[in-house]
């Protein structure tokens, strides 16, 4: 028997992202319609697109969905927006939630659009939309209408507060979902250290919600294709999704009436297991304010033997005796003492200095990296977590790679995005059989 390669070599060959294009796509053959905007709905459809589904994104004619116009400090960068509006561009906010999709335009308000939507639904497996609850029903393209032309359709609606209930008639955003669902109430520095509830920089509830919805869709496709032969209507409330991820907060409140509070960069269950400040910048003399800022590092040494090692490193052997037991370390008042001692020790060090010393002692740590440091790290480059793609429309783009690795049917990034309506001819012509004249007429009337 030939000797098996060691585990690292085995994985590296199996998961090399550069070989992805030579392998089959796991969701090839499924067609998904995505009438989505911002991040919640688009991210859901994009996960399916990364896995190889044919995703047709349908946007308002000419200018597209609003996320194209939402961009850091108003610099669009990706031109053109569409063939009709070449002087405008798509903002970077659109990036990351729309790869691999086909882009068509359609004005849902028009009666011709309803007919086109029903024809598309008849030829698709999945429909994803995140307009306000009931809007698509009003336009005659809700689940009730589409399931009549295609009973096998899996129809996923995503939105703020759900399609029913006393608070349903409200729009929502990621940060509203996080505020009302309970996430901000337990995020941010503790009140007695001067903290306030904090929002996450990333639209976490949107990306997580999109993932939950994608899981529901895959489950519904499994049920359709192996059990029942029928489609299903799925609802995802963004606020509900946030509440679902509150971990122990609700059981704690329900049984003991204790309201979980913010605990900043430390942990309520483990100590030491948090982020500390290092007093020196990693870029001495830099005039860039982001680089002149001091560094931060995550330190995890909650097990007794690790904590003892950590106390040795920082020259505070007495702490190891005083707080020898984890039950003592994790108490709120003692965490303050311990973290203050760690920060006092790190005051004259950079995050890299601290990492070197902790590595030597065998203590788990990780400097807090900025986007530049993440992009340049060889580990992420080798795994394809960040990669340069040769985008057919926009040229060289630095892009996040799919986070899930599959040995035989890997997900992949084919292109980052396309202009509004880029695939009108292909989809309306080939899929719906519209003639060149009909496409031109629809374009002229701004239906597409």
């Amino acid at each position: 028997m030939a000797t098996a390669p060691d585990f690292e070599t085995y994985c590296q060959e199996l998961f090399d992202y550069k070989t992805a294009f030579g392998k089959p796509e796991v969701l090839k053959g499924y067609r998904v319609l995505s009438c989505t905007q911002y991040i919640l709905g688009p991210s859901c459809a994009s996960y399916l697109a990364e896995l190889g589904a044919e995703v047709i994104k349908i946007e308002a004619p000419r200018r597209g969905e609003p996320m194209r116009h939402t961009t850091p400090f108003n610099e669009p960068l990706l031109y053109p927006l569409s063939r009709w509006v070449p002087e405008a561009g798509t903002g970077l906010g659109f990036f990351g939630a729309n790869p691999n999709e086909e882009f068509v335009s359609l004005d849902f308000h028009r009666p011709e659009a309803r007919q086109a939507m029903l024809e598309l639904a008849a030829k698709s497996d999945v429909m994803v939309q995140n307009y306000r609850p009931g809007t698509f029903d009003r336009w005659g393209i809700g689940y009730q209408h589409m399931s009549k032309v295609n009973p096998r359709l899996v129809y996923q609606w995503l939105g703020g507060f759900g399609g029913w209930g006393p608070g349903r008639v409200r729009a929502s955003y990621d940060i509203l979902g996080q505020a009302m669902g309970g996430a901000f109430g337990i995020t941010g520095e503790a009140a007695d250290r001067g903290g306030t509830p904090a929002k996450h920089t990333i639209w976490l509830a949107d990306y997580w919600g999109g993932m939950m919805a994608a899981v529901s869709i895959l489950a519904a496709l499994y049920w359709r294709d192996t059990v029942s032969g029928e489609g299903t209507f799925i609802e995802y409330s963004q606020v509900h999704g946030v509440t679902r991820m509150l971990e122990y907060s609700l059981p704690l409140y329900g049984r003991y009436g204790v309201r979980r509070e913010r605990w900043g960069n430390w942990d309520t269950e483990l100590c030491v297991h948090g982020i500390i400040q290092c007093g020196k910048s990693s870029y001495p003399g830099s005039k860039n304010p982001q680089e002149a800022e001091v560094g931060y590092i995550l330190v995890s040494a909650h097990r007794d033997e690790d904590f003892k090692k950590l106390c040795d490193v920082i020259g505070k052997k007495d702490l190891a005796t005083t707080f020898a037991k984890h039950d003592d370390r994790v108490k709120a008042e003692n965490q303050g003492t311990i973290y203050d001692a760690l920060e006092a020790w790190a005051k004259d060090k950079t995050k890299e200095d601290v990492a070197t010393l902790l590595d030597k002692a065998g203590i788990l740590n990780q400097p807090v990296w900025n986007a530049k440091e993440v992009s340049e790290h060889p580990h992420w480059k080798m795994r394809g977590a960040v990669q340069w793609i040769d985008d057919p429309t926009y040229g060289d783009l630095h892009h996040q790679g799919p986070a899930f690795k599959m040995s035989d049917t890997p997900p992949r990034i084919k292109w980052a995005l396309k202009p509004v309506g880029a695939d009108n001819e292909r989809v309306y012509g080939r899929l719906l059989g519209w003639t060149k004249e009909k496409i031109a007429k629809m374009e002229e009337a701004e239906v597409i």
Partner: protein, 168 residues
Amino acid sequence: VNPCKDGYFMVGGGHDRLWYRIWRTVGQTRPDLEDEILDDKALRMVVARLPHLRQVKTYTVLADWQKDYSRADAMRELLAQQVASGGVNYVDEVAEDPHFKYRGHVDQVEDRLYGKVLYGTTPMLAHKAPARLKWIGRPLGYDNEEVYLNLLGLGREKLGDLKKRSVI
């Protein structure tokens, strides 16, 4: 997210239509603040409002209005103008929210082993085959017999042996 009378409050309305609805709401009780924003030419278009100092102005003026409003009152006023907004809910408030309770976002489950547990339920609602919570967890090895006897077909003797040797 900014402070208000009884906590923190979120208002979302970057695009022009919503932007003016926010200030119409504010102007009902604080016309001075509405004027301050509407008179500022630099704040008229969505793209012009993004630079840091203009955001500081926007949020300072908004917080001046909402400091006199509780989360519930501010939300009522803004929702009347269809502006997406809401307070930062603490965990107890999440558990008591009438909309969440009605829809079962938070539910008290009667767990056979652990009794009553308040729980954030699954948001994956599929109408024909919905996801559900059956139990919250079980003690270590609780299902050993079910799995090793019925699924793997090990005999009781073998199971006893594995237990004795701490393999399972």
